[in-house]
Amino acid sequence: MFGALLSAATLAGSIAIPLLPPPQTGAAVLANVTAFNRPCVGFTSTTPQRLAATATAALRALGWDVASAVGPSFDSANSLRMIAPAGAIYVHSHGDHYVDPATGKRSSGFRVDGAMCANAPKVIAPQIVAQRGATTPIVLAVVSTCHNGERSSKLPAAFGIAMRKAAPGVSGPRSFYLGYVGISWVRAAARFERAFWREVRDGSSAGGAFERALLAGFDPIDLLPEWWGSYDLYPLAPSARGVASHD
């Protein structure tokens, strides 16, 4: 639906702005591969790469300039460098409410790949806040880990997204955060995420895509998705806004 519009926007942009892309046009896609493959576990899987590829393709279709770190290149320094200016982010890894060594209190975050089976370094909310500073809130954050859809997660705030829902037809922030409550099983997450990305690519609002994905064939025992932000958000890159019919 957005293809022709985005092509026009890209063409116009290439004429008017031949230099670096403006801030917040970038998206970061990060996926842990090592922890979910031999020898760390008993199997070989390309699921992390597939999840990342699906996210990448959808974000590109929405006009985002995507940079990715999939596998060992997804380390602490790289991920913080990529997250700092990003307007959209996708993360697939372990996630939890980890202890912040600086304060001794629980924060929230995710483990990097770092070519490590276990105890890989963590990226937690205060590090993200420090890197992002006063940057505009992230437009779309999809955090495909355990626990970071819970009310106690500090990641939405780190991305500048309040834990409130702006209902359909109600104006709200230009942000949408998607995470999972409790343990999230990969098979269910893959079904949910394929449906979510397909819908946003087809022009659904983020909230509409989320609710369509609830109808994908998975059991809520295996996956409890949650969202914050604006139901009606069309998560287009800034370069694509104004040319698409919805935004």
Partner: protein, 291 residues
């Protein structure tokens, strides 16, 4: 020579039907789902039209059939598209769009008109009436929505889960007592019972093995496949699993389900996993894991 004039939609549907028959036919050993009232493939809402698509109900008719009918003024159909579901079923997807370009209703139907997926856009999150239904009332309301749309109401009590401000009601599909994960009938409701969406999924099932190995044998076989430090934490449970491309890789959702022993455990770092073993050969069919 007789000229046969078909609408573009009918032409597409016929083409899809022919392709589907050629490419997606279940193998001769596959089981036709036959698990009674809970079987969403019973097609209670379908008709027996001989021309593919001829009996698909127009989306505007469906919109008026909803218990909370849509006001159709200002809504236009996108004309519909022939699609294939993740399970390989040929479907017709049609949407109603409002003047702002927002989707108000999307319906996926089989080529004989059975509704497989339906979603309403813009359903309020808070109950405008302030009424929040009990679980029993939600189940009754979900059944009423299904009935109004001509979708078979499964027997039994649905599992009800609160998800992101909605209520998800799931009637799981079972075959000979074994769960078919992800299959069944799901209804998503707002807190006051307003319909948000529904889905009916029924994957083809492969033939059950002539001899099903015991749960004890499955646990022993699973143990030999575990990496260092991993442990089995539960009992083995039979289920109809979508086999993975390679055991551990992404599931093949369009392949017939296989009867498997599902065994759960924990890796050395405590994160959970599931290994699925063919119920006959005990060979690995798939892994699943949590992050």
């Amino acid at each position: 020579m007789t000229n046969l004039h078909l609408s573009p939609r009918a032409t597409v549907l016929i083409a899809v039907a022919l392709l589907s028959a050629a490419a997606c036919a279940a193998p001769p050993t596959a089981l036709a789902p036959s698990d009674g009232a809970a079987d969403p493939s019973s097609e209670a809402n379908g008709t027996s039209g001989s021309l593919a698509g001829a009996s698909a109900r127009p989306i505007r008719t469906i919109a008026l059939t909803l218990l909370e009918p849509l006001a159709l003024a200002g809504l236009v159909s996108d004309g519909g598209t022939a699609i294939s579901s993740e399970g390989g079923e040929a479907r017709w997807l049609e949407r109603l769009i409002d003047a702002q370009g927002r989707e108000r209703l999307a319906v996926e139907s089989t080529l004989i008109g059975a509704i497989r997926r339906l979603q309403r856009g813009g359903v309020p999150l808070d109950a405008p009436s302030g009424i929040v239904l009990s679980n029993a009332a939600l189940a009754t309301r979900a059944a009423a929505h299904l009935t109004a749309l001509g979708v078979a109401v499964p027997s039994g009590v649905p599992a009800i889960t609160a998800v992101a401000g909605r209520q998800v009601l799931s009637w799981a599909r079972r075959m000979n007592g074994a769960l078919v994960p992800g299959d069944g009938t799901r209804v998503v409701l707002a807190l006051d019972g307003a319909l948000v969406g529904l889905a009916v999924d029924s994957s083809p099932l492969g033939a059950a093995p002539s001899k099903v190995r015991t749960a004890s044998e499955a646990l022993t076989a699973a143990t030999t496949l575990l990496p260092a430090g991993a442990t089995i934490t539960g009992v083995a449970v039979l289920g109809w699993i979508a086999p993975a491309l390679g055991a551990g890789d992404e599931e093949q959702t369009s392949a017939p389900r296989r009867l498997a022993w599902r065994v759960r455990g924990s890796f050395a770092d405590g994160s959970p996993f599931e290994i699925d073993l063919d119920a006959g050969s005990l060979g690995p069919l798939a892994w699943d894991w949590a992050r």
